[in-house]
């Protein structure tokens, strides 16, 4: 059972949603309203446990009177607002944002993105063949880039970072959603081990001077992996199993239980494949932890299967 805080009763505001009048509680975002109406809007940087970063711009909708489109994940509904989620402008934006992302980033482990792409007819390949991976992305100076002849499309492809036994960072898959930074920083963990460095297309998630994770302030809580929408951050176990072709989500079961390490009582969701724990997550609707865990809860399960 999930306990939901109801809070004080809220005033309802009425607005026009795709041609129909809709009433939602004051303070709701357009995305909340969409969810309530059963309307599915693609999102990538939206985090159900984080403040909206509204950086990915996948969830843009049209609000009458606004000069530009607005991010539905963060724009609050106002009385009388006229919102269109399927206008030509909205669809063009969604398609192009997905195409731009797909042309620069490896989205092969991003859930739902294939269906969104085909729904809006996105074709990332029309920007040209991808440029070869680069080795120097961690050290690019802002404000300068090599001249391009336009014959290949620049991408963020780069070698995967495997510098510790628990995490793998594959920034060729990173869409710069800021969620890992927010989870590691003042929104949850307060470790501040990672930040966005560089600028523009060369912006990247980085430790200070791109030092290896074990030398950084990382405490291996895994909360960054919990919120990563693309698989750019993954558990080493999952990464290795994907590499050797034995990762099979369809064959996994999930069981939520209580962590036994201390008295807080965090919920753990054990992902089990072939009678072996392969990953631990935590329910985002837990009012205590909101999906966050510590290193013990996230990784301290080897003893369970020491047989």
């Amino acid at each position: 059972m999930t306990i939901v805080e109801i809070g004080l009763p809220k005033r309802l505001v009425e607005f026009m949603f795709d041609g129909e009048p809709v009433r939602v509680p004051e303070g709701a975002t357009i995305l909340d309203a969409c969810t309530a109406k059963g309307k599915s809007i693609p999102t990538l940087c939206y985090g159900d446990t984080l403040k909206p970063a509204n950086a990915c711009r996948v969830c843009m909708v049209e609000v009458e009177g606004a000069r530009t489109l607005v991010p539905s994940c963060s724009r609050k509904v106002e009385p009388g607002m006229v919102v269109r989620t399927e206008s030509e402008r909205t669809q063009h934006s969604r398609k192009l944002v997905l195409e731009l992302l797909g042309s620069a980033t490896d989205l092969s482990t991003t859930p739902h993105v294939d269906e969104w792409m085909s729904a809006c007819g996105a074709d990332p390949s029309r920007f040209g063949p991808p440029a070869p991976p680069s080795e120097d992305r961690d050290h690019r100076h802002p404000g300068e880039h090599e001249e391009t002849d336009g014959q290949t499309a620049a991408t963020v492809r780069q070698p995967t970072k495997v510098d510790n036994p628990l995490y793998v960072r594959d920034y060729g898959k990173c869409i710069m959603c800021y969620k890992c930074v927010d989870a590691c920083g003042d929104q949850w963990q307060n470790s501040f081990a990672i930040s966005v460095a560089g600028r523009g297309f060369d912006a990247r998630i980085s430790t200070e001077f791109s030092t290896p994770l074990p030398d950084s302030a990382c405490v291996y809580c895994g909360n960054c992996i919990e919120v990563c929408p693309t698989g750019a951050l993954s558990f080493k176990r999952e990464h290795d199993k994907r590499e050797d072709g034995t990762w099979n989500e369809d064959a996994q079961t999930q069981t939520t239980t209580v962590c036994t390490f201390c008295g807080v009582g965090c919920n753990l969701t054990l992902h089990v494949q072939d009678n072996e724990i392969v990953k631990v997550t935590s329910p985002h609707d837990s009012t205590v932890t909101h999906g966050n865990l510590c290193i013990k809860g996230r990784f301290g399960w080897q003893h369970v299967q020491n047989r």
Partner: protein
């Protein structure tokens, strides 16, 4: 905050400069980075570590900030380096040939060879230009304008000379009709007495008599709108901030003039620095701000020197500080904050992040600055030129002010003429002057050449054709003609200009200057540059028509879905080159 710091220590010189910030907070991060960069020439791991220790900043975050600005280096480089401008006006005036010569003589651009390519240095009237820098106990900077390869090679070896020689000059200097520029090139910019002898501080006295609400009323009635490019009514902004119950209120003077082709604010700050300080004081008084930040772009060393002097002199004479001009309870002071090479920091909310010691990324609006701006408090952000209009309104009265310009665009306006024009410089004309009258003032294109196009409004503006020069320069006429006055750029291209390279530079500029926060801008500016490179190089992916189509689609999503004005306008100039100049018409 419990910080985990790397086990690296600063050098003695680094420690000494960083220790000066002991006891201060995160908002001193940018000044601390400047201090190290000025002393050593680059920011080492040990220096950054020590900054984090002193200011209590997580090192990953400080690294994220330091790596955001192009004037800082996080890898070792020599103390001496020359930044050579390759942007629009310099490109038109031979920057490419200059860089080719430098490559031959010094080697390819980079720290090792001692010269770097730079975006617009804001000295477009003297193009081509370079800025020499040498770190040391007293860092030196020297502007080379106009310059040539021999001089750059010499200064790269010898280092810049010290001092801020040279004088702000405007072509119309001495013209009795000038109001905004009346002191530029005429008075001694270091002398408060000169300033007062030419009417300085009469406006602040008038403001103190009118009271804050009275000042806002005058500015509103004068219909003053922002001169930074957005043309928002200034009085409305001030009134909205003044009415906020939360305290304190802040004033930010946006002097991060980084739009290629724009240099009017530099002329005002170098030629009439006290006017900028007085205008900020009046704005602070009207909107109830106790502190003002002057956010100055990092590439303006001479303006920095003169403004520092002006602030110190004003403090001495009680024109800043407590109980200003004897007005009990009116306290206001100004802090200069140097930018460090990031066009995006001219965006009104990116400025806040930059001042606070965060990455200069724009914030989402709403909330708007008048409600939640710098340090989350109500904030007025005004451009330099906007502010220096205020003393005119208060001394002449708004009735007189309204007589200049048109009904929709009131007052005088500054334009920055550069490119292929006989007498480049900043010109002051009433709104409503036609583009051809303005070009005539500047002597038109050099003899024997023909006008090809005018880039109006800057890299984020649009092109005007030779047959459209009767365009009256007003906000409403520009809008009706599908263009913009933007930041006042009038960049002239004659028949010798290479339009393709010019457009490619615009595309490269936006790619370089995108903060990278949102997808349409971060990736869109890259795809725009790639498509332009194909068009200019005549090497399409399939057909040029397909590349043009791609450009338009990418341009549309940047305009519709980017977080801030940079991405929203990154396609303006290129679109107008296609539509108004017919560039690549044969391809479509």
């Amino acid at each position: 905050m419990d910080l985990k710091l790397l086990d690296v220590e600063p050098s003695e010189a680094e420690r000494v400069v960083v220790d000066l910030f002991t006891g201060m907070g995160r908002d001193q991060l940018l000044p601390a980075l400047h201090a190290v960069n000025d002393r050593v020439g680059w920011i080492s791991q040990g220096a950054l570590n020590h900054i984090c220790r002193v200011l209590h900043i997580p090192p990953a975050e400080a690294y994220g900030v330091a790596s955001f600005y192009s004037l800082f280096s996080l890898s070792e480089r020599p103390a001496k380096v020359v930044h050579v401008c390759v942007d629009l006006a310099c490109q038109v005036n031979g920057a490419k040939a200059l860089c080719d010569r430098l490559t031959d003589e010094l080697g390819p651009a980079g720290a090792k060879s001692g010269w770097l390519r730079s975006p617009c240095l804001g000295v477009c009237e003297k193009a081509p230009v370079a800025l020499a820098f040498e770190a040391g106990e007293v860092a030196r900077e020297q502007l080379l304008a106009p310059t040539h390869a021999g001089e750059v090679v010499e200064v790269a070896a010898s280092g810049p000379s010290h001092g801020h020689e040279g004088r702000a000059e405007v072509p119309q200097a001495g013209d009795p009709g000038l109001r905004l520029l009346k002191r530029v090139g005429v008075v001694d910019p270091e002398s408060l007495d000169d300033y007062r002898a030419t009417g300085g501080y009469q406006a602040l006295r008038a403001a103190l008599v009118l009271g804050p609400a009275g000042v806002i009323r005058e500015v509103s009635d004068a219909k003053l709108v922002g001169r930074g490019g957005a043309a928002f009514p200034t009085g409305r902004k001030w009134a909205a901030t003044a009415g906020q119950p939360v305290r304190p209120h802040y004033l930010v003077c946006n002097a991060d003039e980084s739009e290629p082709g724009t240099f009017k604010d530099r002329l005002l700050m170098e030629g009439d620095p006290f006017a900028v300080i007085e205008s900020m004081t009046i704005a602070g008084y009207a909107a109830g701000c106790s502190k003002g930040y002057l956010y100055l772009r990092g590439e303006y060393p001479r303006a920095l020197h003169l403004l520092r002097n002006a602030i110190a002199r004003a403090r001495e004479r009680n024109f800043l500080g407590d109980d200003i001009m004897g007005q009990e309870g009116f306290s206001f002071d100004i802090e200069i904050r140097r930018g460090a090479g990031a066009y995006i920091c001219g965006e009104e909310t990116a400025i806040f992040n930059s001042i606070e010691g965060f990455r200069g990324e724009p914030r989402s609006k709403p909330p708007f600055p008048v409600e939640s701006g710098l340090f989350g408090k109500p904030t007025v952000v005004n451009n330099v030129e906007t502010l220096v209009n205020v003393p005119l309104i208060l001394t002449e009265g708004c009735e007189a002010y309204l007589r200049t310009g048109t009904a929709g665009s009131t007052g005088p306006k500054l334009f920055c003429l550069s490119g292929n024009v006989s007498r480049p410089g900043v010109y002051e004309v009433p709104f409503g002057t036609t583009l051809s009258e303005l070009l005539d003032l500047a002597g038109g294109v050099p003899p024997g050449r023909e006008l090809r196009a005018v880039l109006l409004g800057g890299a984020a503006g649009g092109f005007v054709r030779p047959d459209e020069l009767d365009l009256p320069l007003t906000l409403e006429d520009a809008r009706a003609a599908g263009t913009t006055l933007g930041s006042g750029v009038v960049l002239v291209l004659d028949d010798t200009a290479d339009l393709g390279s010019f457009l490619l530079r615009i595309a490269a500029f936006f790619r370089d200057e995108s903060c990278g926060q949102c997808v349409p801008c971060r990736i869109g500016t890259v795809r725009q540059e790639e498509a332009m490179a194909r068009l200019v190089g005549k090497r399409p992916l399939s057909t040029s028509a397909a590349d043009l189509q791609l450009l338009r689609e990418v341009g549309q999503v940047m305009r519709d879905s980017s977080i801030c004005g940079l991405g929203q306008t990154a396609w303006n100039a290129i679109e107008s080159a296609l539509d108004r100049l017919g560039y690549a018409r044969e391809a479509s």
